[in-house]
């Protein structure tokens, strides 16, 4: 049975100023798992891991389980050895484990038993985040609200919630079928449509379902989403010089208009580690956030290694394969790395120097990349304020994009941000295209129909 829930509509920030945006502290901390409170003063490691290169099949399944068993055992032993004050394990399901929900649930049980053991044996406060793969894009155009993949996805959520997940998350892909094409073409109107119309419509529906699943499983919290398939794709393509960095920065800001939909549907955090738009969620919804940066270089490179930690509540390594290193296996090695980062932040807090450390983490990256420039506490407040000043997700996405352009433009003119000729040209172009967007998204929808209409199923977004 589900309780009545009235969706929220954020119209003001949860914090009074950028000074309140600091690592380890969220306005609305979250209690979950075995005595863990996230956002209540300390930063904890969130350790993420995956299999080494191998085939997942019935034949190899015992080996798959053995890997996760080894990871759980080693990571928690390392955390206990280092006297970590708390820890989150994230189990990000691989597509095959979501397609066969029983597989995912089996791994969840294995990891949860290690967490229970660690809590009992060492008193370690800890929790398990479980993130099924959004497999709804298996068919083209993707069917977001019906069909086999959709059913498998929700069965995966249910089984994992029943098997011991403490936090449910997803990197949802609603709107990605349009965004993928729009992004590589730097088609700003189509990007705005994907991030401001399609994605929030999907997330509003999806997170209502996830909230209901959590209500059926007491103790399981509805975490948060990530614009991984949107803004992180842009970040990676920019990193490979395939897209302008300024575009990636603007897409990051615009993606926050989509991310907020989860929290308006009752998600409580912590948001996903790869959601670099997390600080904006913290500013608007007051929720604790997971972030990743320099300690995620095992998974991907980024220009935001330090600044990403400035406001985090969980500090993650994104993903690392269970392979042998000189010290030990990679997941336990990264547990150590994350814990030392967290120790430093927590020591700064304990000695009253948290803001000084936050500012160092910020300024060390802020103006070296447009993508870092939109992640500072001040930029976070500016973008978050632009979002809550609007009520429609499309207006919010456009406003966030304009705010990001303003931040970059100002940084450039004030001499902080150095942009090459091509990047500067692109910033001008993006600015003009954002300014030229129609005020009514339906006009945009009609305009984009000939090129993009066949890519998405309108019923999946309630657009019929």
């Amino acid at each position: 049975m589900t309780t009545e829930f009235a969706p929220l509509l954020y119209s003001q920030l949860a914090v009074a100023s950028a000074d309140e945006l600091i690592f380890g502290v969220a306005r609305r901390p979250v209690r979950c798992g075995f005595g863990l409170e996230i956002g209540a003063g300390k930063v904890y490691p969130e350790v993420n891991f995956t299999l080494p290169t191998m085939i997942i099949s019935d034949e190899t399944w015992p080996e798959v389980c053995a890997h996760y068993d080894e990871i759980g055992r080693q990571v928690l032993a390392r955390a206990a050895h280092l006297k970590a004050p708390g820890l989150v394990l994230e189990f990000e399901l691989l597509p095959a484990m979501t397609e066969r929900p029983e597989w995912g649930a089996e791994i969840t049980r294995i990891l949860k038993s290690h967490l229970a053991n660690a809590n009992q044996k060492w008193g370690l406060p800890c929790a398990l985040r479980v993130t099924p793969t959004d497999i709804r894009e298996k068919v083209k155009p993707p069917l977001m609200r019906r069909g086999e993949a959709c059913e498998e996805l929700f069965r995966s959520f249910e089984l994992n919630a029943g098997a011991g997940a403490d936090i449910l998350s997803i990197e949802s892909v609603g709107g990605k079928e349009v965004h993928d094409r729009a992004l590589v073409q730097a088609d700003i109107p189509a990007i705005a449509f994907a991030l401001g119309v399609l994605a929030p419509r999907d997330m509003t529906w999806l997170w209502e379902q996830i909230r209901n699943i959590c209500e059926r499983h007491p103790g399981v919290v509805s975490g948060g989403d990530s614009a991984c398939g949107f803004a992180n794709t842009a970040m990676q393509l920019a990193g490979q010089k395939m897209l302008p960095e300024v575009l990636a920065a603007v897409v990051r800001a615009m993606s926050a208009a989509r991310a907020i939909a989860a929290f308006e549907q009752g998600a409580v955090g912590p948001s996903k580690d790869c959601a670099y738009e997390g600080p904006i969620m913290k500013a608007i919804a007051g929720v604790p956030i997971a972030m990743e940066g320099k300690s995620a270089a095992c998974a991907h490179f980024s220009p935001v290694g330090n600044i990403a930690s400035a406001m985090c509540d969980l500090w993650s390594n994104e993903s690392v394969q269970n392979v042998r290193l000189l010290s030990g296996n990679a997941p336990e090695a990264f547990t150590e790395l994350l814990e030392y980062d967290c120790r430093l932040m927590n020591a700064a807090t304990a000695s009253g120097q948290a803001k000084a450390l936050r500012d160092l983490l910020t300024v060390s990256d802020e103006w070296l990349s447009p993508q870092a420039a939109v992640l500072s506490p001040a930029a976070t407040i500016e973008i978050a304020s632009a979002i809550v000043a609007k009520t429609d997700p499309y207006d919010r996405a456009v406003a966030a994009g304009v705010a990001a352009v303003d931040i970059l433009d100002r940084g450039r003119h004030e001499g902080h941000l150095s942009l090459g000729r091509k990047e500067a040209q692109w910033l001008e172009r993006i600015k003009k295209e954002l300014e030229a967007l129609p005020s009514d998204w339906r006009e945009l929808e009609a305009r984009l129909e000939p090129e993009y209409g066949q890519l998405y199923d309108k019923a999946s977004y309630g657009l019929e």
Binding site: P52, P95, K138, D180
Partner: protein
């Protein structure tokens, strides 16, 4: 400025409408369709690839040029077919079983199309059998396999093994690409080539087709 230079520039600048109208103008002036493609249009796309490699172009500019090339090819296609002209090669492309990522694959497709290849795009999550069926149906010179995940790159080997088992390995060259891959892995699984970027993939495809001939 000579008409052919204007056509070259229109493709490089990604102006599809202008490129198409310039081709029509060239044809009215009696230009040889095959020469137009070989001497102006493909060199224009090569220039686009060069600008991309030199980081003067980003992907959006590269795709715009690809679109201009496609538009310019429209009036030429029936004439080339009548003259018995063949594409630079036939390529089947797909992201392997279990993997839903397709941005990298689509970039390679776009670049290959620009270079005059005929592409059959099988999409994402493509089973080995689907590749085999497509090879039998389209008789390509090349198949391109894409993967982004470390746990799906193994499906490339499964696909290559299945192609071997079906007795088709000798008839196609196999190219692989994707973030977790390396040249070494490509060789280990029995591929004919690996490229790190879409522009390198075009060069590789050309080389392999030349060898085939």
């Amino acid at each position: 400025m000579a008409l052919s230079q204007r056509l070259f520039d229109a493709i490089v600048d990604g102006n599809a409408q202008l490129a198409k109208s310039l081709v029509e103008e060239e044809l009215r002036a009696g230009a040889d369709p095959m020469a137009l493609v070989a001497e102006t249009m493909i060199p224009a796309m090569d220039q686009v690839g060069k600008l991309f490699q030199e980081e003067e172009f980003f992907v959006p500019e590269l795709l715009l040029s690809g679109r201009a090339m496609k538009a310019a090819m429209e009036p030429l296609r029936p004439l080339l077919a009548a003259a018995g002209a063949k594409p630079a090669g036939v390529v089947i492309a797909g992201t392997v079983k279990g993997d839903l990522h397709d941005i990298g694959k689509n970039l390679v497709i776009s670049m290959l199309e620009g270079a005059g290849f005929k592409i059959i795009d099988l999409g994402t999550d493509v089973s080995p059998q689907k590749f085999i069926d497509a090879i039998r149906e389209h008789q390509p010179q090349i198949i391109c396999l894409s993967a982004l995940l470390t746990v799906t790159m193994t499906a490339m080997k499964t696909t290559i093994d299945a192609v071997k088992e079906a007795g088709l390995r000798h008839s196609v060259k196999i190219l692989v690409g994707g973030a977790p891959l390396s040249e070494r892995y490509a060789m280990e699984i029995g591929a004919d080539g690996y490229s790190e970027t879409a522009t390198e993939a075009v060069e590789l495809a050309r080389r392999l087709v030349r060898l085939e001939k």
